[in-house]
Symmetry: C2
Subunit: 381 residues, 2 copies
C-alpha cells in the first residue's frame, strides 16, 4: 500500500479521489483536510481512519478531537502543511484557492509525488514549483481534465516535438450570448454550466473564460511550453479535452465523456490506465457530432488578459488570479455585475507594478494587496 | 545515412516516400522496384542513383541495363526479393497485391526494419509475419493512415491496457446511397472517393467497405488484438484516422488532414515527429464539425465477411482477399456489377475449405485456387 495525503477531502475532487481509492485498493489514506462540511468529514474519518486530520476552525478541531481521541487533529494553515506532508508518498492537493500553494511546496520539498487539482499552485508560483520539482527530483501530475488530456497526449511524443497545445473550452453558460446580452445576467444564470457540474466559482470562471485563462497559464508551467504555442478552441460538447499538435502536424487528442473520475484515476494510477466498472464508454456514433469554433477574444476579453498576465510573468499571474477571485466573490454576492468581473481584472493588471522572479512571500503579498485594493473599492459601493 | 530499399517506387506511396527522403536527408536509396511506369522509373534512377533496380519485364530490364550500365537490374518476382534485401537497413514495401508478401518475409529474415504499405502481407500471412518478427527481433511499422494513427495512439499506453481499437471509415464513394441504389452504379462513379485520391482498386474497396475489412484484419495482426476489440465507425470527414480506447475509457485519437505523407514520414523517421514545411496544420475551427455514424453491417456486408474471415483465420483471410481482388478487377473491366463483388467474396468464403496454421506455400496455393475458380466462372460469362 502506498501512502496518500489528501487536502480538500470533502470537496468535489476530494470525494471522487476517495471513490477511486476505495475501488482501487492501493492507497492508504494517511491524512486529510476538510473545511466546513464536518458531517461528510466525519464519515470519511470513520471509513478511512486517517492518522491526521486538518480542519478549518479551532472549535471544530476541539470537538473532533474529543470524538476521535486516537486521531491527531490540527487547524489553520500550518496544519494543512502537516496534513500535506504527513507521510512520505503521494499528495493530492484538491484545495481551492491560494491556500493550496504552500502545502504543495512543502510536499515537493519532502520529495513527494504531487497530484494537483489546485489551480493556484501553478498559476501564481509556476516558476518556483518547477525549480523545486527539479531540485527534489519528483513529479507533478495534473488532475484537471484538460491538463490530464494534454499529459496523456504528450506520452505519444517528446516535449521538444510539440508544435502547439490545444485546450478545449465548452464556452460556459453564456457561450451563445453576445456581450451586450451579458449586461444584466443573474448569478443563477451564471451558475448553469452546460456540461460539467462544478462549484460556483469555477462555473462563473467558465462563463468569463477566466477558467481557460488559468488553464493556459497552468499548461505553460506544467509542460514548459511558450504561450505562443498554447491555443484554445471552443468545443461545446466537452468530449475532446485536450490536443497536442506535434511538429509533423499530427494531432493526438484525448476524448472521453465528461467525468472527473477519469483524470483522477489516471493521476492516482499513473502510468497505468486501469479499467473501472463505473466508467462509461464514449459512443461517438450515438453522439454523432463534435463541433469546434474559433476562440473569440473580443467576446471573452478575460482570456486575452490571462495570456497577457502569463507572458508578463513575475507577479502578474497572481494579480490576475487574485483580481478574478475577488471579483467573482463580489459578483456572487450581488455587489457587482457580471461584466464588471473583467473590468476589475483589467484594472488590476494595469495598475499593479510587476516584478521579475518574485519570492513566494512577494507573490503572497501581491495577492493580498490586490484583494484589499479591490475590496476597498467595491465592498463599500 | 541509413540504407533504404523501396518496392513500388513509382506508385502513389512510393513517390511520396521519395518526397520525404528527398526532404529529410537521412536515407540512402540502395534499391528500388517499379512496374510499368518506365518514364518515372528512369527519373528516379537518375535522381537517386540506386545500386539495384527490379522491373517487371525482361525487355524493360534489357533496355534499362543498356541505358544505365553501372546499375544492376533484375526482373520478375525473385528480383523483388533481391531489391527488398539489397542492403541491410529499412525496407519500404509499397507493392500492391500478393506479390508483396515474399519480399517482406525475406527482409524480416535478414533482420531489416519493415515499413509496410502492402496490405496483403499482414492480411494473408499475419501469423507467419508475427512469428518471424519475433524470431528475428525486428519491427514492422505501418504506413497506412489508419494503422499509423493507431500505432501513434498506442504510444500513450500499453497494449495490455487497450479496451478497443476504433478504425474510422469515410464510407467511400457511395456512403449516401442505399443498397438498392447500388445495383447499376458505373465504374466511373465507384472511382470517386470523397477524401483521398487513391488507385482504382482501393477506391472500389472503400466503396464496398472491403478496404476497412482488410484494415481490421491487418490491425488484428499488427497490434495483436482480438477482433472483438476492433471496431469501425463511419466518419465522413476522414480527420480522425484511428482511436484507441484504453481500459479506463479514455480515448486517444490521432487527427490530421488527409495527407499520406504524414504516416509515411512518421514511419520513416519513427520515433521522431519532425516538422515538414509541406505539411499543413489542421484547423478544427475552420472545419467546424466532425461527424460519426454507426457502422452499418447490413449496408456493407463485405465488412462482416472480413471479420468472419479474420476470426476463422488460417486460409480464410487470403481467400477473402483473393476473391475481392479478382472481383474488383472484373468490376473494373465491366464484367460484373458492383454488388456482385460481395456475392463473389461470399461464395468464395462459403465454398473454400479452411486449414489451420497454413504455410506460406499453402496460402499462396489457396490464393491461386480462389482466383482461378472465380475467373473460370465469370470471365467466360
Amino acid at each position: 500500500m502506498k501512502n496518500l495525503c489528501l487536502l480538500g477531502a470533502t470537496g468535489s475532487i476530494g470525494t471522487q479521489v476517495l471513490e477511486i481509492i476505495r475501488e482501487k485498493n492501493i492507497y492508504n489514506l494517511k491524512s486529510i483536510s476538510f473545511g466546513k462540511n464536518i458531517k461528510l468529514g466525519k464519515k470519511i474519518i470513520e471509513e478511512f481512519q486517517p492518522e491526521y486530520v486538518s480542519v478549518l476552525s479551532e472549535a471544530d478541531m476541539v470537538n473532533l478531537q474529543n470524538e476521535y481521541p486516537k486521531i491527531k487533529f490540527g487547524c489553520g494553515e500550518d496544519s494543512l502543511i502537516t496534513a500535506a506532508t504527513y507521510a512520505p508518498g503521494t499528495l493530492v492537493n484538491a484545495l481551492v484557492g491560494m491556500v493550496g500553494v504552500k502545502p504543495t511546496i512543502a510536499a515537493i520539498k519532502k520529495g513527494m509525488r504531487i497530484l494537483l487539482a489546485n489551480k493556484e499552485t501553478l498559476v501564481v508560483a509556476g516558476d518556483i514549483i518547477n525549480r523545486l520539482l527539479q531540485e527534489h527530483e519528483t513529479e507533478l501530475i495534473p488532475i484537471d481534465s484538460e491538463h490530464s488530456a494534454l499529459f496523456q497526449c504528450l506520452q505519444s511524443g517528446s516535449k521538444k516535438e510539440v508544435n502547439r497545445l490545444i485546450i478545449t473550452a465548452s464556452g460556459g453558460a453564456f457561450r451563445d450570448r453576445t456581450r451586450s446580452e451579458l449586461k444584466d445576467v443573474s448569478v443563477v444564470e451564471a451558475l448553469r454550466h452546460p456540461n460539467w457540474e462544478m462549484g460556483p466559482k469555477i462555473t462563473v470562471d467558465s462563463a468569463t473564460m477566466v477558467n481557460k485563462g488559468l488553464e493556459v497559464i497552468e499548461a505553460h508551467y506544467l509542460f514548459e511550453i511558450d504561450y505562443e504555442r498554447i491555443e484554445t478552441i471552443i468545443h461545446p460538447e466537452s468530449i475532446i479535452h485536450g490536443m497536442v499538435e506535434y511538429n509533423d502536424k499530427s494531432i493526438i487528442a484525448q476524448l472521453s465523456l465528461p467525468d472527473m473520475r477519469l483524470p483522477i484515476q489516471y493521476a492516482l494510477m499513473y502510468p497505468q490506465k486501469l479499467s473501472n466498472p463505473k466508467f462509461r464508454s464514449l459512443d461517438l456514433a450515438e453522439l454523432s457530432t463534435l463541433t469546434f469554433k474559433k476562440m473569440d477574444f473580443e467576446r471573452f476579453p478575460a482570456l486575452g488578459m490571462a495570456y497577457q498576465a502569463g507572458k508578463a510573468g513575475g507577479l502578474m499571474p497572481a494579480v490576475f488570479n487574485a483580481a478574478n477571485e475577488v471579483a467573482v466573490s463580489l459578483f456572487l454576492k450581488g455587489k457587482i455585475k457580471f461584466l464588471e468581473i473583467e473590468d476589475i481584472i483589467e484594472e488590476a493588471l494595469e495598475s499593479f507594478e510587476n516584478q521579475a522572479n518574485p519570492t513566494l512571500e512577494e507573490i503572497l503579498a501581491a495577492d493580498s494587496k490586490v484583494r484589499t485594493c479591490i475590496l476597498e473599492k467595491y465592498e463599500v459601493k
